[in-house]
Symmetry: C2
Subunit: 589 residues, 2 copies
């Protein structure tokens, strides 16, 4: 061993101890003939001091050290003259007797500090240096801790972690599958799994009634911000359970994580919100409930005053932005432009200021008397000093969605989205089916194996469109601070119900056999009632770390073009490899 | 929840309790009007009884149940008339009040019993049914348990589990890489990792001084028996360590596994054997030390008696097979044919029987007097009643290897290889370099980043071939019962030493840059001394389970052609997918 202690553990109680440390030179400075060196490792920083009267060779070595040199030092723990209360090791320093340079370093292309001077691109290229910085080290340490707590919780609950294969089969709708040509089976391909969904259901058929896996998944899709072609899921499935059992088990898991990892207590039981309420009041199926400012429908209240835009709208909704009545004209204009961007898509923005003197000021004063505005203020629960923002349109869900986006934006602007506050909840009672006007058919909102709620089965077997539209799924999402962290469903295990589902979705027996034949066949051999869910592990880690972006929580992420710029991948391969695989790359043009 | 208890937990102390169970019908039988049903789940089997005087509907339902039906039953725990001491639940049965069929099953294609009537192929196709059998369930449960214990041990020791990417870059010598075409980067490919070697070394450069990962690895090679294209490693790396630290840490891990999982105590410290001793005495770098029968060189003892075969041999070796002097002529002839098979490759086999009456009988009696044979018996430590088997040839290591294979075979025949006996050890002091006569150059025995033993560095920098040949590597293998379970090395972290290594291997600066440039560059930024190892997790599980083959310890394995016959993969993919990937499959012919 090159050290007796790490750079994070020595304290004043170790005073007088002879120690050996090893690590990286964070920085060094000369002060009155003495050389001070900050020595860093994974565990912290310890200050070293080479006295002015030390042997010349030692002084010379100390002087020669550059940033990020790897050194080993021997010395004695002494009490510091000027203590640093910000550092765990700040009461002591090491009076150095010997320095051994284990490895030199060329000058790193950016500073290894909490706030680096390096841009994103250069840090990505030298990821192994970026990973030396505390924010990334803390992120990966947190990730390890969360994974470990997840495993302990699930092991305690009799779950088995079972590894499912990575080389599987491309599905008929596998546009997003990464494929892997097989050398031993020329012309044939494996596919990398988008999730282990099929395999975990097969494990239920096989009788492994509590399965989990922290597992990599792959999706070859255009990468929006903060998506990765490979990502990690906490994938879970249970047999002989109803929705209630799944929710209890996994909110218990999240409660344990919050408690053990962050020391945060979340409500027991967790709040649940129906998908309909989430859409109506938050304009989102992943509501951020850390703050209010909920959406209120004012369709009836606002109509009939002769203002064409609202009179002609199918739906009018509003949010009351707290204490924002002092927004200037310029601010409101900017906000109007903001909602008109294609990302939001509103045609315009109506505002009503609820002034502190009891008056109103709005962009629709021409049509609305103060008492009309007061009614709107009452419905939106606006208080004195609030700013009411109104959107309208001919599609209720679309307008609610815009209001939801606006609500989040205002929450951000007002600092209502504190990353240290955690407001988890379940979203339940999703519609089972979505009607598509264009193709005039229903689609499964989750997937075609999701079961209807038992009490809605009567509608599920009805042929009336309005009955089918109100069937809720036995499905659930775990939402935290405006982000969907996980979701799942109770699956259909009954052959007749599955047949009915295919019928509703307009999937004929042949198509069903072609697309799902394999799993349908397995289900003939005694499939138990089962259900499960999956959490996006990268995102769980990021949110626990108080960050919006997952990139720092992945050791070696890819960029938005799906490239690993550090190793320069993907890349061309040898002709020999192509020959062995019996494939050709098409020429450009 | 569909059940109050599992099928494995009810005991006589639960007598009188009203319970609900759910599971699969293992079997049912009528006996004097009563129906007995064995109900199975992951946790065990509980006997159900439907009384003769039960309501007719219940009797009818019970009678209708087929094998592998999924049912839910309500009833009362009662004491059995005839107890079954072989079953944990054997003291009780459930007097059934109600049965609900949750799902029917068609007749499975083979019996779900410990010893199934299904052949390997049919069981592979219906793996989800095979997985219901106890031997597989126990195998996967053991696997979960071992993984969990590994993680607990390493977490306790401050190791961080860090996920490395699966979509990486094909290496210049990547003939065995699976590659993955990138849709977003047409003409370019990712590769699936054969191991996370590069990334774990980068994590050391990044300062994560204790890393591990239970990680999938991929190798597109012709599959010999008991190899899988995807397999799992326990991958580990440490910084600021010497070989001794790595060995101590990981024999501690194995000791904990043996203790916690099997209740077996292994020696502390573990035995270590040099590679040279392993080759000389066991003819293998993964010796099975559960039994003796070691190889003895008798070159000097056996030469010079006028028997041309031996007189002309460069090396003569022998093993003394205990109590096998009564082998018949037929048995010895069969053994002779056995060693002459190409898999062993011997030209012939000489035997010497050490008869219990003090006489010798050998195939070389014509050339060797009894006192000559007695000398050989003395050297081989043969006892009265033993059978000495002799092989010779002009290449010492080749003959030793044949003797090693023969030794294992005789160990099997004599029942000396008890899977319940565990004899782990470290193999150390491997040669760093292997001379290849054909190309007249040295090759790295492990890989070109393996460091020489510090005390052999003087020879490493010598230019004499005999000096270089005797340099030992700072490398080590963990061997259990004749199987290599893991191995690793201390890596070179010093640029000058790495340069020397390339020089010794005849790799010029340009080739080094092309092949290893990326990692060499990373090492310029302060690489710490580091080393590590990886265990073959599938094999660890199999050996802990007392099995030779890994297939039962993998939930969904592939066959020897790399195919998953259950999902029928690999398979052809859609033209649309090929078009998106900009690749073509070559036509046969």
């Amino acid at each position: 061993m090159y050290r007796t202690h790490t750079c994070g553990e020595l304290r004043i109680t170790d005073k007088g101890r002879k120690v050996t440390l090893a690590g990286w030179v964070q920085k060094s400075r000369k002060l009155g003939g003495m050389t001070f060196i900050d020595l860093r490792d994974r565990y912290g920083i310890t200050q070293l001091v080479v006295e002015a009267d030390a042997p010349q060779e030692l002084v010379d070595t100390a002087t020669s050290l550059g940033r990020e040199f790897v050194i080993q030092v021997e010395g004695e723990v002494v009490e510091r003259q000027s203590k640093n209360p910000k550092m765990d090791t700040g009461d002591i320093e090491i009076k150095v007797d010997a320095i051994r340079i284990l490895n030199k370093s060329v000058t790193p292309p950016f500073t290894i500090e909490d706030e680096s001077d390096g841009g994103e691109d250069i840090r990505a290229k030298y990821r192994y240096l970026d990973l030396r910085r505390n924010p990334l080290k803390n992120a990966l340490t947190l990730r390890h801790r969360i994974a470990h707590e997840v495993r302990n919780y699930l092991d305690d609950k009799c779950f088995l972690e079972i590894e499912t294969p990575y080389l599987i089969k491309s599905t008929p709708e596998g546009a997003r599958d990464f494929v892997v040509p097989s050398r031993m089976n020329p012309g044939q391909f494996y596919a990398l799994p988008q999730s282990p969904q099929t395999f975990k259901q097969l494990l239920m058929v096989a009788g492994y009634d509590r399965y989990f896996q922290i597992v990599r998944c792959f999706r070859d899709e255009d990468l929006r911000a903060d998506r990765q072609p490979e990502f990690t899921q906490i994938d879970c499935e249970m047999s002989f359970v109803e929705q209630e059992d799944v929710l209890n088990t996994f909110e218990g898991m999240m409660r344990t994580l919050f408690h053990n990892v962050l020391g945060v207590e979340i409500p027991n039981p967790l709040p649940r919100m129906s998908w309909y309420d989430a859409m109506d009041h938050y304009g989102s199926d992943k509501p951020d409930v850390r703050f209010g400012m909920t959406i209120h429908e004012i369709t009836e209240t606002a109509k009939g005053k002769g203002f064409g835009v609202l009179d002609g709208a199918a739906y009018i909704g509003a949010i009351a932005v707290p204490s924002a009545a002092d927004y200037t004209r310029k601010q409101i204009d900017e906000l109007t432009e903001w909602v008109k961007r294609p990302q939001v898509g509103a045609k315009g923005l109506i505002y009503i200021k609820v002034n502190t003197d009891g008056t109103f000021k709005s962009s629709i004063d021409k049509f609305y008397a103060p008492e009309d505005l007061a009614k709107i203020a009452a419905v939106t629960e606006a208080k004195s000093g609030d700013l009411i923002l109104v959107l309208s349109g001919d599609n209720k869900r679309k307008v609610q969605n815009m209001l939801g986006v606006l609500r989040i934006e205002m929450g951000n602007r007002l600092g209502l989205r504190d990353p240290k506050v955690f407001a988890p909840l379940w979203i339940v009672d999703f519609p089972l089916l979505e009607w598509d006007d264009e193709t005039q058919r229903f689609y499964a909102m989750h997937h075609p194996f999701t079961a209807p709620k038992p009490e809605h089965e009567k509608w599920f077997y009805s042929n009336a469109k309005e009955d089918l539209e109100r069937v809720c799924a036995n499905a659930y999402d775990f939402v935290l601070n405006g982000t969907e962290l996980g979701g799942g469903s109770i699956r259909i295990h009954n052959a007749d119900m599955q047949k009915r589902m295919f019928e509703v979705l307009g999937i004929g027996p042949e198509e069903a056999e072609y697309k799902f034949g394999f799993i349908i066949n397995a289900f003939k051999f005694g499939a138990p009632p089962h259900g499960g869910l999956a959490f996006g592990f990268d995102r769980v880690c990021a949110l626990f770390g108080g960050q919006d972006t997952i990139r720092d929580y992945i050791a070696f992420p890819k960029n938005n073009q799906g490239r690993d710029v550090m190793i320069d991948s993907p890349s061309e391969i040898d002709q020999v490899q192509l020959d062995e695989l019996q494939i050709d790359v098409r020429k450009n043009g």
